[in-house]
Amino acid sequence: MKRRPNYLAGLGSLVWLVLIGLPLYVMLAATLQSRSDYSSNGPLSWPKHFTLSNYTQDFSNGFGHYFLNTVLVTAAVVAIVLLLIPPLSYAIVRSQGRTTTGVFRLFLLGLAIPSQAVIVPMFYLITKAGLYDNLIGVILPTAAFSLPVCALVLTGVMREINSELYEAMAMDGASPARTFFQLVVPLSKSGLSTIVVFSALQAWNGFLFPLVLTQNEPSKVITLGLFNFQTEHGIDVPGLLAAVVLSMLPIFIVYLFARRALVQGLMGVGGK
């Protein structure tokens, strides 16, 4: 279909581009110049002398280590979600009876439990379990709080598997386990990628649990590193913003090379 260009929409999208792009530009420009250049030139100027010292300095301030911690937390959370949710959704979709309905309701209501609301008892439980200031103490609640959305998304996807296919598997005498691995998992790939993307972002960007449940350098994750950096050397804006850039770098790389998977995954959270 031939359409004339929509100038109004084009203009609007350009305005939005400025709103999104300008802060990103300021951020990037700031990180590439020295502190004194930044404060004398102001936030809007492009660096005259390029330097990567802000980044190297962040690494020597422990960001490499925070990075590794965050990777570990993210990987563990994704692993837990992938181990727990597909069987759960399979059971919800395929098993009969009130119990699984009840289980599904539990997870639906779980959507309504904000992590902020349970932070006090979570703190109590984690300290009693001796997991305070330990990455495991961050992983477990982070994983638990990404379960409801993941359950919802994957259950939705699994429902769309044609029941004739199950019957065909049953004809072959397949056990639930074989049905699960040969039919359900391969046909739920879009849903699986969604829950991987969702839980990974949750874990990578998680802040409240690390804030309350960890304390020392060895167990610090990158969001907390950013937060502390701000309260300790906040006026070092280039260094601070370099840390912000570092915190998004891995996801940005994924975005560059697997944009489609990431975007589709996020769309999945919205139900598409």
């Binding site: 990987a75 992938l82 305070y132 495991i136 020392n216 060895p218 309260t231 906040g234 006026i235």
Partner: protein, 432 residues
Amino acid sequence: MKKRWLPRAVAGSVVLALGLTLAACGGGSSSSSGSGSFTVLVYGDASNKVEKQIVDTFNKTSKVKAKLQTIPGADYQTKLQTIINTKQAPDVFFNWGGGSIAPFVKAGLLLPLDDMIAKDPALKSDFLPSVFNGAVLDGKSYGIPMRGTQPVLLFNNKKVLADNGLTAPKTWDDLLNAVKVLKDKHITPIALGGGDQWPTLMWYEYMYDRMAGPSLFDKALGGDKTAWDSPDSHAALDKLKQLIDAGAFGTNFDSVKYTDGGSVALVAQGKAGFELMGSWYYSQQQQDNPDFAKTGLGYSTFPTVSDGKGDQSDIVGNTNNYYSVLKKTKYPDAIAQFLKLQYSDEFVKAQMAIGNLPTTTNTTNFLDTAADPAYSKFQYDLVKAAPSFQLSWDQAYPQSASNAMHTAVQQFFDGKLDADGFIKAMQALPTS
């Protein structure tokens, strides 16, 4: 859709997770003080290098090792209180004495240090008595002074003052005049990190002491709520209002913070003339703006107020910092050795070098070795001569009061509360 990355991602993350569990378990057992070490928890800021040095010195000779942990300033008190009654509690921790350790003493968590002192009297006698007593509760000693005394001073940018024909203000009228002159030159007269709230509180602490002397606050802290509604209290608030209305702090102080270095930079770059801050301001400027700290940073006491009833040489601030010891520690003897280092010559010199002022009796021997001997002498004489050294209000009140106190302090400054509203808010604070 091509999704071949998915199985690999799954496998990868499972392997990583397993590795992590093992690693974390390993890490856990090594940090749980298996073979002779105790943890020392300190407020994280520019002074930490001295604590690191002292710990290293201690570990060179001791079999039981000390391990230093720091929590960044803003979160220190919060984190401390959340962990102090758990397994993860430190053995030795930094505090401000007085109200900051009272709840822990009440809960029976702290080790009275009197036995240690009996064995080694220097743990007490080597400190100035007024300072040592800051951590004595119910007749028992719960803290050994560390770091130094931190009076609040009025800092200035020497160049800004000189360029405008001003000198460090001696009286309240001098200050009002300086405010007027700087404001006319479009320089923010006084930098204030209002976003942090506690820097604002310092103005009240000094004003109340100048106008009423220390007794008003002591009464209020003792539970006498009428103190806040006394004529002296109203007079102090009137004076503050006068200063605010004169535009002393500019208009955007609530968006400025001290903790992110904003107000510090305003003074260093000559965009503001003054800043009221604890003596640690020196080491902060030294870290952020070394050249300015060396040549451009001026300081004076809080100005005198002619119609005030208080002694005009009183000071406010943090009397001192202390190390307290938890009862549950397995190594009281090693800790006693560690605490001894807090009055060693090495400690005193190291603190002096970063602008802190220890309150040991040997301090005077080393005043000349300080980073800025004049600055250290100035403080030392000030503290020695002051009839009263008021502990910061938010440290003197119970922790549960500090948030409401800070809110009221900020709201009076930005005009959301009038004097009566402020007084009501202060009366509503819990006192014990």
